[in-house]
Symmetry: C2
């Protein structure tokens, strides 16, 4: 880079850090989290909420900068919002859930926290991802501070165990994956991601890995046994059934249907006609592949979902060859997946009848907008982390360059629209906190690869990975 | 009826009873259940399986005829197939589940039972309905025999409690309804009935009612408290959010969207554009209405599903006015819902893109065939029971007349196809047991309205319905 460019980049980063500072919410005099939008002059829906999922890149940034107090306070206060008992009332949050968001209320000069578990959300979507992210943040906090005693406090161990019990509870079906309603994660509007969507499964895997470490250190062996049983099953299920590359597509294309019995080659009874196999066979590069969006009865969602795929690389849910293949795909289909703004939340968009049927005619999720094929700058940090993990740092660098040429002058929008991501999102808010933190975290991860350790896991091997506290 | 007609009907019934006799499976010398197909010369897939859901009308018939041994044996043996412990293995059946089906294996002269919990089924669908039906059959058995001691045996109480724990377990979301994967009930192929389908919710309600009575008699109060909390919430949720009539359609049509907060009028954020409101406004009679197929985030499935609607009447999940409105609708839209064979499993069929997207291009569920708008004679008994319950016996009589004119000469097919149900199902098996038992049970219910008591429940009123054993 030329000197002039370096100074522009420095100005940009300084601006971003300043905005992040403005987004910090204070509760009873202590910093508690970051609000969804940095610019307090924008009075828009939910602008004053602190969303758990939005806080993730903020938390990681605060940790690498040694500002542990904010993250500790966030973890302590959100833990207090977790219901500890079942209330035998189907409209109150279940034991173990962590809210999607909270906000600070001021009543007669008294501050209090108001949680939202989905009961106030548009369409009453369930924030299944929150409790999984909460464990991942807690694990990162312990890694950064080396303060395992913090997580060993009884109330934290109880919090982790309640989440694990919720996720590992006896269920109707017999897959190692988690069954959730539509829109239970970052994509929190109806998008045909009911059932067993990849994002939830990869978060579940990462949370299991994190919880295992945190529980072992405190000697909570019983629930660790349950985790140790689930981890390899979940991993192998995803690596096998969700994986799509040319070799696998050839198998799917020739699937026989209506197979009965345990030896079925096509156990989910996928009809090849339901797969756009010709488009896929052209799109898939020779050495590329990815994890499908969803698997269910006669259902194989072949959309590429970025968060799920990138997080799978980061937490070693995919194997080494698969991780490289995903990065190959991103590189070779760069225009579709990255384009003018890293990166597409999913590809391709649902169009025409599919759009109408799967979104329920959602005017916000029109094709190539918002959750339906929009581009989300926050995903930049996931891409950079996956690039670091796979040693493909050039991919991270290229993506950061694209982002930093636009984000500041576009006033840090929430999302971009269009097939190439060149339009600022139709209803995008400006100065969206996680757009800013996603960019800053991506920069940090490129400059300091060791920060990846906060969020990354190696291959899980139950033989070698015996039970000792390594935090 | 003329004498000649009466004698034809008698011959028909005699034939049906004889076929039912042939379908009985014997295990270790005792009658255990009925096989899916009566005609043992047909070696077709699953012909030798005893399906729990298929056995329901057989069980009720055996009970009214005083042949208690078969039902008792069925309940005892299936209870033994219920897993009593969690096996920490996501591919083995969960604690509490009852298999979809079982068959009798003969190995070296030794008979044994092999259960199928969905792990061998086509598309690996989960039989969520089996455990709910099991409780309903047990309750009917106790009502018929007055042998409450049978259900008070510790292993039966444990069986009921395990099912209740499975259904009432802590879950992610905050609705009183049960979240299930696609195809978890009678419609066991992908049909866009993921989430909170009506059939499961009405079975859940009936099973909660039955379990409550069975548990109170044995003094198991703790789980009864959980049931008492859930019942009114589930009932009110279904009666309000699932209900569609002209008045409600007018509200839905003018829904505002994107409402945030607990006071939202449109909490599920339904977009009116996703509803074929014009078709519906023409189709809905002035005094008719029904329960929608499903409710989820931005999703209102307006298809009419017969089993769920009729069972809701039978178990008083709908209120009296709603029950009458459903019967009005059936009467006024007779050609669509009954036509040439009682009755359509759902209406209308998924066609064109909807068919492709929701079924995954299933060649068995093409429009107006099988689960996708086919006509199922087994539903005749549900229709007759609902007709008795609402005092609309003429509807039951009309339906029986249509069925008895065709069933025997068509060799008792599994299902019929076409918009009017005039075609024998494309892949329908002949001499399907529940086609025969559905017909016989409908006849019994018309002749002996008191038999309805075996399967029916009055309005649940927690104030009046205090805890005493009335079985």
């Amino acid at each position: 880079m030329k000197k002039e460019e370096i100074s522009i980049v420095n100005i940009l980063e300084t601006e971003a850090w300043k905005l992040l500072e403005q987004s910090i919410a204070y509760y009873q005099g202590q910093p508690l989290g970051t609000m969804a939008v940095c610019d307090k002059t924008q009075i828009v829906l939910n602008f004053d909420h602190c969303f758990v999922r939005d806080f993730v890149p903020s938390a990681l940034l605060f940790l690498v900068k040694g500002r542990y107090d904010i993250v500790r306070n966030f973890l302590e206060k959100t833990l207090k919002l977790q219901p500890k008992k079942n209330q035998f009332n189907a409209y109150t949050p279940s034991k173990g859930l962590i809210p999607a968001s909270f906000r600070i209320l001021l009543t007669d000069g008294e501050e209090s926290l108001e949680a939202d578990f989905g009961e106030k959300a548009i369409a009453r979507v369930t924030p299944v991802d929150s409790c999984l992210w909460w464990i991942i943040i807690l694990h990162a906090y312990v890694k950064a501070t080396k303060d395992i005693k913090f997580a060993m406090q009884p109330q934290f161990q109880q919090g982790i165990i309640l989440i694990m019990e919720l996720c590992l509870a006896t269920r109707f079906d017999m897959n190692p994956t988690l069954l959730v309603p539509d829109g239970a994660c970052m994509i929190y509007r109806r998008m045909g991601i009911y059932g067993y969507p990849l994002e939830i499964q990869s978060l579940f895997y990462a949370a299991l890995r994190a919880a295992r470490k945190l529980l072992i250190c405190a000697g909570n062996e019983e629930i660790v046994t349950a985790i140790d049983n689930r981890l390899p099953l979940l991993r192998d299920h995803i690596r096998h059934y969700y994986w799509i590359d040319m070799k696998r597509l050839n198998v799917i294309y020739r699937f026989k249907s209506e197979e009965y019995g345990q030896k079925a080659v096509n156990p989910f009874n996928i009809y090849a006609d339901s797969i756009p196999y010709n488009d896929l066979s052209v799109w898939l590069p020779k050495h590329g592949g990815y994890l499908a969006g969803n698997i269910g009865p006669s259902q194989l969602d072949i959309r590429f979902f970025s968060l799920g795929n990138l997080l799978s690389i980061i937490c070693s849910l995919t194997n080494e060859v698969q991780s490289q293949a995903i990065m190959n795909l991103i590189e070779e289909q760069w225009d579709d997946l990255v384009g003018q703004m890293p990166m597409k939340i999913c590809f391709p968009a649902l169009e025409n009848e599919e759009y109408k049927i799967f979104t329920g005619c959602d005017p916000k999720n029109i094709p190539w907008s918002y959750h339906n094929g929009g581009s989300w700058p926050v995903l930049l940090w996931f891409l950079t982390a996956a690039a670091q993990k796979t040693g493909r740092t050039n991919i991270g660098e290229r993506a950061i360059e694209i982002a930093q040429a636009r984000l500041s002058q576009d006033e840090w929008p929430e999302y971009y629209d269009g097939t190439s991501g060149s339009l600022i999102g139709k209803q995008a808010r400006r100065y969206q906190t996680w757009t800013i933190t996603g960019f800053l975290l991506a920069k940090e991860l490129m400059q300091n690869p060791e920060y990846l350790e906060l969020i990354s896991f190696g291959e899980f091997d139950i033989e070698k990975d015996y039970r000792f506290c390594d935090l």
